[in-house]
């Protein structure tokens, strides 16, 4: 009795192999599609913006005149914003991670906090903007200043820091903790002197990635109320401010009126992408250089 009709198999073999090869080509082209878009996008931004970048563009204040407009205010604003976000998100993120990994009993409370954090990561950024507008800018009456924006952003990127810190703390091997306990150290001494120093590279990587996510965000700050044309440069965390992405936003929507604004937006994008690329490179460098494998 024949189970397999070899003639039929042979007849169909050609078409099956052809389908396989065609599918492979299509899958490859689909993969290339994303990369082609990336190249076109970067090419377009460079073509529009590169010619506009010079020292005046970096050091000038904002202006309605495209020839005189610069992004110094947005650069300083971005730095001030990072100065608020970094400590707040680090304390909150690392504290939460230590609690979840070292103290919390594996029970309802810790799984509730974990679920909450993963849901928080899925909340649209514009909703965080509303929270910032209602609580920080209006209820606490801070107005649309660096502190209000920074606190909002710190909450927005908190899940990134928590997850990265949790992974870094979990990667510290148990024998280091046990050695510390064996010397008579208490739990907190062990965490402070042994676990945190060992987990620091992973935590720092997470914080840098969170910061780079924060300075690319636009929607929450527009919602909090950053003016379109802010000429003074901020001097502290209680000053009104603008940042690079918000400036890109206003120049892009106004480019229908003044065509050169599109070039200014593109030039600002080039600067923003350079900053983000540098920050991500630092994060990868920190991870590769200081991360130890036990």
């Amino acid at each position: 009795m024949k189970y397999v009709d070899s003639e039929q198999v042979h007849k169909k073999m050609g078409i099956r192999l052809l389908a396989n090869n065609m599918a492979k080509t299509i899958f490859f082209l689909a993969t290339l599609f994303g990369l082609v878009v990336l190249i076109v996008l970067i090419y377009r931004v460079l073509a529009d913006g590169l010619g506009w970048i010079n020292i005046d563009f970096l050091m000038n204040r904002l202006s309605t005149d495209p020839e005189r407009a610069g992004i110094w205010g947005a650069i300083v604003g971005t730095l001030w914003l990072m100065l608020v976000i970094a400590p707040v998100t680090m304390i909150l993120g690392v504290g939460t991670a230590i609690y979840l990994e070292e103290y919390a009993a594996k029970g309802r409370i810790s799984s509730f906090i974990k679920t909450n954090i993963s849901n928080l990561a899925g909340v649209p950024s514009v909703v965080f903007g509303i929270l910032g507008l209602t609580v920080f800018a209006r209820a606490l009456d801070l107005g649309s200043v660096v502190l209000a924006g920074g606190l909002t952003m710190a909450l927005l990127v908190l899940p990134v820091v928590v997850v990265a810190s949790q992974e870094a703390i979990r990667a510290v091997p148990q024998f280091l903790r046990e050695a510390s306990y064996g010397m008579g150290a208490t739990k907190w001494q062990t965490i402070k002197n042994v676990v945190l120093p060992a987990a620091l590279p992973g935590i720092l990587t997470g914080v840098i990635l969170a910061l780079s996510r924060a300075i690319g965000e636009t929607a929450p700050l527009v919602v909090i109320g950053i003016p379109a044309l802010l000429i003074p440069v901020p001097d502290g965390i209680f000053d009104k401010f603008t940042i690079l992405p918000v400036q890109i936003y206003y120049w892009t929507i106004d480019s229908a009126l003044v065509a050169e604004y599109a070039n200014l937006a593109a030039a600002t994008i080039v600067i923003l992408l350079i900053v983000l690329f540098a920050m991500n490179s630092i994060a990868i460098l920190v991870r590769n250089k200081f991360q130890k494998r036990y």
Binding site: L17, N20, A23, K24, F27, A30, T31, F33, G34, L35, V37, L38, L41, R44, G95, T96, Y99, L100, Y103, I113, N116, S118, N119, G122, V123, P124, S125, V126, V127, F128, G129, I130, L131, L158, L176, S180, M183, G184, T186, W188, N193, V194, P197, A198, G216, T218, A219, V222, V223, I224, G225, I248, Y249, T252, S255, A266, I269, L272, L273, L276
Partner: protein, 327 residues
Amino acid sequence: MRSLKGVLHLAKSTVQHGNKTLNVREIIQQKKNSRSVNNYTEKLIPKILFGIAAISVFTTIGIVLTLITETIAFFKDVPFIDFFTGTQLKPLGENAVFGVLPLLTGTIISTSIAMLVAIPVGLMTAIFLSEYASERTRKALKPLLEILAGIPTIVYGFFAFTFVTPLLRSFIPGLEPTNILSPGIVMGIMIIPMVASLSEDAMSSVPNAMREGALALGATKLEVTWKVVVPAAISGIIASFVLGISRAIGETMIVTIASGSSKNFTFDVTQSMQTMTAYIVEVTGGEAAAGTTLYYSLYAVAMTLFVFTLIMNLLAQYISRRFREEY
């Protein structure tokens, strides 16, 4: 090494402590004192850390509470039914009408366009990377996709407005300068890396034995992929689609820039449409005075948006947990 130094440091300090004084009673007393200080910190620290961990919970509560209280205030001015069935949205002027349907259709249409791009391209990318690509190709391609995922949305907005829209207008003559089609497509491109990497993770975790079994029976690679790997990884793949949808619903800057602010109730993708997110940006940008119906409408729309994305996120978690096949 630093962590070991910490341990050694601790040991040294204990020894010195012992050398300082000879009186045993004093040593014991000192130890007791320092232990009580230690005990105090040991008890306090977990409480502080719990307080810090609770802040993330308070953030959620804060979001929900602000949205709910202001939304209730909104529904005192505008009946619930009118809001959710109204096809007209004219928030400004004397006879303001608040119907959310134009924003809902805008959101649903832009999300659908995005997913029409992101699902096929993302899934095919995932299949190529997980099943066809050599280890070297994969290592070269993945970081490039991660760059695509790391580009700020505002840059995609600029790209949609200044490049994709003019490009599409040369094919589709009726396309308006601001339309929902172009941001929809660009949003889809933005979501490709997310769908691709999550689906690839799901497919990579399908054990090789299953592939080899199918190959040994004479299946081609395409048949292995389509009839064995994809069905085995389906929960992860669908979860990645749902997370992509959630991301598209919440995406703000691309649609705000490239789709304009027309509040017409329409299904024509060549026209300008406003999404829920873009409405929020427009209203807050105009500095709506607190206490007006316009101001409260902001929260009602944000609440709708929040509920939509929350349902999607919970759905994704449910799918990946409920339908996961363990091997």
